[in-house]
């Protein structure tokens, strides 16, 4: 979207639709839950409400400690996700810059940025971050 086409009307219309979609989906799902609540059988017993653990009585700690092996992936993901935020606007602007303004800086700058990121992933790989930790 170029700045000269921006209008409050268009902006409102666009994002009203988005906001309303959440409301409509919530209403439809709410209707479904309500129907289910009215129609379904409800005969609860203590046994039925216990946590499932292969049929045996559950061990006392339902939230037991779990080895989170994924947090480094999460950090890596954060890096790449932030990078994506930079890439999206760049992707639709760098050719315009080149053609209209003869400005080649955006292209080379982004290639350098991607180079740094490529280095980052190679470094993570060499460090063994991408291996499944025992």
């Amino acid at each position: 979207m170029t700045p000269d086409t921006f209008s409050v009307e268009l902006f409102t219309q666009n994002w009203t639709a988005v906001a309303l979609s959440a409301v409509v989906a919530a209403m439809a799902i709410g209707g479904m839950f309500a129907a289910s609540r009215m129609l379904s059988a409800r005969r609860h017993s203590e046994e039925k409400l216990t946590t499932y653990e292969c049929g045996i009585p559950p061990s006392p700690y339902t939230w037991s400690n779990i080895n989170v092996r994924f947090y480094i992936f999460a950090i890596l993901f954060l890096i790449f996700d932030v990078e994506a935020v930079f890439l999206f606007p760049w992707a639709v602007i760098f050719m315009q810059e080149k053609i209209n303004e003869a400005n080649t800086l955006p292209f080379y700058a982004m290639m350098m940025f991607l180079g740094v990121l490529a280095f980052a992933i190679i470094y993570a790989w060499k460090k063994g971050v991408l291996e499944w930790q025992k």
Binding site: V24, S36, T51, Y52, T62
Partner: protein, 384 residues
């Protein structure tokens, strides 16, 4: 301030948007019903079974019977669960699945509200579903559930990156994030011809994003008995699967829009072009079902390694090659060549990973048989 902004939208528009959204929700529900039937039929045929046959002609009423059963089923909320999280998790999943359909166009005009940032919006909102899965796993206070929720987070964020990168390379080709302009940009040639690597990466990552086999690690029934969904039943459970099928349909629709030319096709014109669109989407869906019938489930370490060692570098490469191709004004076939080379590498890696273990097994078996064959005549010879 808010009132001033809201006044700029007329009441007519407002009502039409709401009507359109309800119509969209109804259509999606019908599509989901059709998909469950189709999946059972196709999987049945792939396994030399018939699939559903008893409910109506060709079992066509089966989805309706399923839906009724799920609505009428008792909805159990375990006593030890975190009630609020348990309740809200499926709602988050299905709302985020539905919200991206606001801007997916069926034809040039058949769209509820076209957004200039359509592609960016879709990618941003498709990630919110992960939150719902993690909350579902945590809220059900179940060990399998927690494990499944964490697996879902790890898997879905890892496969999100290839999707983003491939989407960016398509946005570069079309020089737009508007889905309608992306389809218009494919008038000369559809993008699969210049970016076959992108299509394959998007397909694989898309499968992982919606958790279809072979990437159904996070609710693998035979390992963690349904992961985040283990404690859910009745209406709540059905909502998760509603979301899953809506997402599958969305991924197929995005593939068609980004790579296969959307609604463009010969003969039809105007809004009838939606037939082309739906036809292409259902072809992609059939391929997804076919993959489900063919491949075994991956192990989680293989899954993560595949994401970070194959998909991420390759999707990076696709961004770089698209940028270079555009910046230096190379002819279109050069991008096809580069992309095909990348695709060959991916194909080779998958082939080696898939065939190497089976080859090893075959070798060991052959060696043992040869050994036994050698021993047997010797033993019988000794007896004489």
């Amino acid at each position: 301030m808010l009132e001033a902004i809201l006044l700029t939208i007329s009441l007519d528009d407002f009502i039409w948007i709401i009507v359109g959204l309800f119509a969209m929700f109804t259509c999606l529900s019908i599509v989901v019903l059709s998909l469950t039937w189709l999946e059972r039929k196709v999987l049945g045929r792939l396994q030399l079974r018939l699939g559903p046959t008893r409910t109506g002609p060709m079992g066509l009423m089966q989805p309706i019977a399923d839906a009724l059963k799920l609505i009428l089923k008792e909805d159990i909320v375990p006593a030890s669960s975190e009630k609020a999280l348990f309740w809200v998790a499926p709602v988050i999943v299905v709302i985020s699945a539905f919200m991206i359909w606001v801007t997916i166009p069926g034809t040039q005009t058949a769209v509820i509200q076209n957004l200039d940032l359509g592609l960016f919006y879709i990618i941003a909102f498709s990630v919110i579903g992960i939150l719902g899965l993690v909350l579902a796993g945590w809220g059900s206070a179940n060990k399998y559930g927690t494990l499944g929720g964490l697996r879902a987070a790890a898997q879905l964020i890892s496969y999100e990156i290839p999707i983003i990168m491939v989407a960016i390379s398509v946005a570069m080709l079309a020089q737009s994030l508007d889905l309608r302009e992306i389809v218009d940009g494919q008038n000369d040639y559809i993008y699969v011809f210049v970016q076959p690597l992108g299509l394959v990466l998007f397909f694989i990552a898309g499968l992982a994003e919606v958790g279809r086999t072979p990437f159904d690690i996070y609710f693998a029934e035979s390992e963690i008995v349904g992961g985040p969904f283990v404690e859910y039943s009745g209406a709540h459970w059905s909502v998760f699967f509603l979301a899953e099928y809506i997402n599958t349909f969305a991924i197929a629709a995005l593939m068609v829009i980004l790579f296969l030319g959307g609604w463009s096709g010969p003969v039809l014109s105007g809004n009838w072009e939606i037939i082309w669109f739906l036809g292409k989407v259902y072809v992609v869906i059939m391929v997804i079902f076919w993959v489900r019938g063919t491949f075994p489930r991956l192990r989680i370490d293989q899954l993560m390694a595949f994401a970070w060692k194959v998909m991420v570098p390759m999707s990076f490469l696709s961004v770089v090659m698209t940028a270079v191709y555009q910046f230096y004004d190379w002819p279109a076939w050069s991008l096809t060549a580069m992309s095909s080379a990348g695709l060959a590498v991916v194909g080779l890696l998958i082939f080696k990973k898939m065939t190497a273990p089976s080859k090893l097994v075959a070798e060991v078996k052959a060696r043992r048989e040869a050994l036994e064959a050698q021993r047997r005549p010797a033993a019988s010879g000794g007896g004489d």
